[in-house]
Symmetry: D2
Subunit: 369 residues, 4 copies
């Protein structure tokens, strides 16, 4: 389904970086759900570029226009379509080097796939700009989850070599995240993290990092044993984030060094309910939520647009070439991507919840919870 | 779609560990493709249990019965259905401890999801037994890919703390893997790996590991920018493998420690074609194949069935309990899972190829390649 | 998805007429739903061939083997797979005339699509034999609907030129249907209907007819405005019935001769609830159920296998030829197809109900109903 | 998938009659396909309202704005999104009678489904206005088909009791259709048809009719035996047309009165290729195209908005009421719907072609044709 994903709730993403607009269609919502403009704006603010040396100077207004599916601040139950107009599109910056393939970018793969017909300006359909409508749509889903007692929490676990304080995998306390651009558990990590990013930027280079998400309040029993496991659904969505190159749940790659006796989460009774003493499985057993927080991490590669000179190929002339990228580019997209990860997580879990409980439950609540 | 996945080619998995049979329906194949029984048997042999102290003593005949879609050794173009009968099903081993939730297993999540109606014997629908039909179906896909010049290669990158020799991410040479149960680049690693597994087993414990897959011969241009990225499709499938808890492409989580200048793969001309000098992006840029080998790693957690005493809950009595698992269980499923990873990879890539080139191309070849 | 259909509940059909078995996978059922073997057998009895001059003499045992998803007479919540073995397969009858394309059959289209690799014996994957697993799977769905107060009722509206008594579109009374092979409102129509079929058969010819289905007890609000309208879902399914060439809802093609004032169904209050005075819209407005019975009719073409000599083409020699079909063939499949129509209707509506109310509602009931 | 349909090519429809815009996302197109603005405008002109007493006086500008997927007059290969702004939206006309359920409309079913949260103005998401983006998207598909030698031809077979000249089901000649609003084979039928519509309108009433479509130039082998039959795909789409209540292929309901000997289409050799002497099966056998023209008819019910007084229910007061509809409404939408039927047919067949031949074939042609 290419640019559409989801079973009971579906999300379609469209647009190009320098086209008239980017947007999303969110279908499968119940009618009468609140659509909170302020919450959407806050989510978009999370992924907004700052022009502060840490993220691109592009001025994106990020005003959301609802084309359908919303009336009087509530969903109508029909497809919710939202647009963000592109206003600050300096195509010229890109065209000069159009025949030089930028390493790490989708220039060559787009060329191969679209046989030269793609809209290349600003990354076109591959641009991180398309995460903006995903964030807006996800913020609607996040609001629905919140009303059902479900919270999605994403922090920057590591960026530019600097770690945040660790997340408690049981989420017995989830401290308020640092306000502003850097979603951190420990506010004191922001300064060294920023410094490390600026150091890379000063050398014309870029850095990557790790985002960690915890979802609390999910009932046990969501997801499926095989192809629609919670991990499959979330991984499918996270790999739509342009820079994402890996995902792990719970102890993740650490499981390779654990024995079963240290990897299993013993069952316990907590407040009269079945729980686990640890949460190394990240809230998922056999593809299905076990009522513990769903915890996962993704890795985002360094921004491929760097100012250092790079070797590449001029595909028009089919000869080696040297590339010097200009224009405005984030030295690090990890802080901005936290909002995207939260949004797509909210969407994916709302989809899985709806499979089990039906569309109406989005509004009327989950029975037995 | 729960137990069915795929766009142009789809795979449905069904069955329970101790039911009459497990099976698969593979739909969307062209007609006239060879179905090589020997190749299927060889793939199944890869995931077969040995009863050698390294894997469970259960004797699975693994004879594939084709119910539909195959005639005279070739596909008919209609759904290919295959069965593997379950013969050695000692349900009694499991029933004794039925009300004690096994940590790390799907016992509790199945209980929550199916409200007690699941077929619990031997793991039921969650059993690794269901990977057998997936392997058989994937072997058919692997044969189709092979005829198109595409090869799927999976080795045990790490198991029980022992590493294999590293894979060359450019795959300029892909050494023959160690024959037998342990798919290794370096045959000398087998003995220490086996020893480490036996050591854990001797303590009633289990171990996990990392599987690495490389796919060579793929044309550039497969996959989609957003939700149907190559990474999304493969991750979706790999997380259907019961023990899989993480996946990474190319440099994967290592990207968090790299700068862009070290993460980007410079483009070069090789044999008159566009290629990259390194392959840190694992053959995928912007979700689309770039013609380099697709390389990824998954982590498999240690088998949750261990013989050590574990704390758990008796859900019938809703009180704490101590569990002592009996029966036959693999101390490590990593070697057996290599065949599953290969099979699901072959299936997923055949699906993506078919989206681009159509069903007929499975038989008649990829134009321009 | 080719041989799989459905959103929240999915049905996969596989098999060939003269292969080892035909079968179905029904996925998306809640756990704990009763699977009533007697009801399945009764449904299959409805589509069974009699060898009485009205339907083919082929002896089909129609014993259903459950491979997965059923335990202790209830669904487990995992894919329900059922098989019917093929035992009476006389391939020889068909092979003699293999290069002569049978008019009205899928011989030529299968040849074009599968390039000669299809399993042609007995119609292969195109055989009406494949409706048997659909009937069995549908009977499970019908049982689920019945427990929710929803009834699917199909009668032979017209066959071989003989009409049944008309169905009351308000379904204020739904008389018991004639027992046995001919599902009729008026038992007195059976004798002339049989006589007309036999008259055609005596001339080596065949006849078609019209099946009419009414579904009572559906809540208002099922279905979607555009592509997943109730009409779209049911039509999609009915056109899977091999002989179906048309479908109409409510007044159907009669609407072309009505004015709006005669076509609209006035709203009334009945028993304190909103209803309509007439039911010319067949229970569906804007693609969504309105709480009135869903009523539709399909037309089934005459069996293409006739004993009269026919002009055709020998595709091997590419020259005109004369065909004389032998073997055993129904002169009319309309009575047998009633069970298929009921089954696919039950499946389709269970799917749409599940989209709205969730999987759990299949077992726990529809809130507010 | 609710408002999205298609396997290899997908179409999403969104918007409300009196919201800011209606639109469509068309995904799965190859890159480099021409997007002919004039052809799109011509298709939209076909469904445009005239304000001539035959169709509503609403002035719809029908200017298509491309938001994504088109550059330099060609597709980019990424989702093609198009908008039509709503400008002439007099919500007031509708609000006065908001609590009176209009018979034959979706007022009540929307109320039941959306629990009162729907956008009711002008029919909201149910409005025929949403067919405009479907027509625009379909016109793009029609252009792709035309370049492959495939033509979609729709005429008004019957309207207001007046028949057009019959279509030759072999399509040996397809006469140019009457220019303007009434797509007729025989231009002389337009005057009596218009007169009959005006006569109904003069009485405050409305009429329906039958649209017939023929598609020529399709290769044999498109479609699938069971759930994705050509008939299933096209019927699914046609029932998305708001007024459609029936569809029949080839001889359709006429098959109920035919014997097999008269229903079968004998195979013949024509120009050295296999063809059929007649085309009573409407170009489809066993769900798959046979290379003959695909021919089908739909019935469209009379416009439910009539000016005659009607009995209904005031759902707010839950009491019987009398309704007098005001505003502007077509007395007949059949002529305008011809463009919609053509558009959705073109989309559906492009989807099925792409399943078989792949995305690239949309641009590079069908091998072997």
């Amino acid at each position: 389904m290419k640019n559409t994903f989801g079973s009971a709730v579906s999300l379609t993403i469209f647009g190009e970086s320098h086209g008239p607009a980017v947007g999303a269609v969110l279908d499968g919502l119940a009618a009468g759900l609140p659509v909170d403009g302020a919450a959407i704006a806050a989510a978009l603010e999370g992924r907004r570029a700052r022009g502060d040396g840490l993220s691109t100077a592009r001025k994106e207004p990020d005003e959301v226009e609802f084309l359908s599916g919303v009336k009087n601040g509530h969903t109508t139950g029909t497809p919710l379509t939202l647009l963000l107009r592109n206003t600050d599109t300096r195509g010229g910056d890109y065209q000069k080097t159009a025949a030089l393939l930028r390493p790490g970018h989708a220039d060559y793969t787009a060329l191969a796939k679209y046989e030269g017909w793609q809209d290349a300006a600003g990354g076109g359909h591959f641009s991180g700009r398309l995460t903006a409508p995903a964030v807006a749509a996800g913020a609607v889903c996040e609001g629905v989850l919140a009303a059902l007692g479900i919270r999605v929490y994403t922090h920057i676990a590591r960026c530019a070599g600097v770690d945040d304080a660790p997340l408690d995998p049981l989420c017995e306390s989830l401290p308020a995240l640092t306000p502003g651009h850097f979603a951190l558990i420990d506010a004191d990590r922001e300064a060294p993290m920023q410094a490390a990013i600026r150091a890379a930027a000063a050398e014309g280079d870029s850095v990557g990092g790790i985002l960690e998400t915890a979802v609390t309040g999910l009932p046990a029993g969501i997801g499926e044993p095989w192809f629609d496991s919670v991990e499959s659904e979330l991984a499918h969505l996270m790999f739509a984030i342009p820079a994402c190159k890996g995902i792990e749940f719970g102890a993740g790659f650490g499981f390779a060094g654990l024995r079963g006796s240290a990897a299993n989460d013993p069952f316990v009774l907590r407040d009269g309910r079945i729980a686990t003493a640890a949460n190394r499985n990240g809230g998922v057993n056999g593809g299905i939520t076990n009522g513990m927080p769903v915890v996962f991490r993704t890795v985002l590669k360094p921004t491929p647009s760097i100012y250092k000179e790079q070797s590449t190929v001029d595909y028009a002339a089919m000869r080696p070439a040297t590339l010097q990228i200009k224009g405005r580019h984030d030295p690090c997209i990890v802080p901005r991507a936290a909002a995207v990860q939260t949004a797509l997580t909210a969407f994916g879990l709302l989809d899985l919840l709806t499979v089990r409980y039906g569309t109406l439950a989005q509004k009327h609540g989950l029975p037995g919870k």
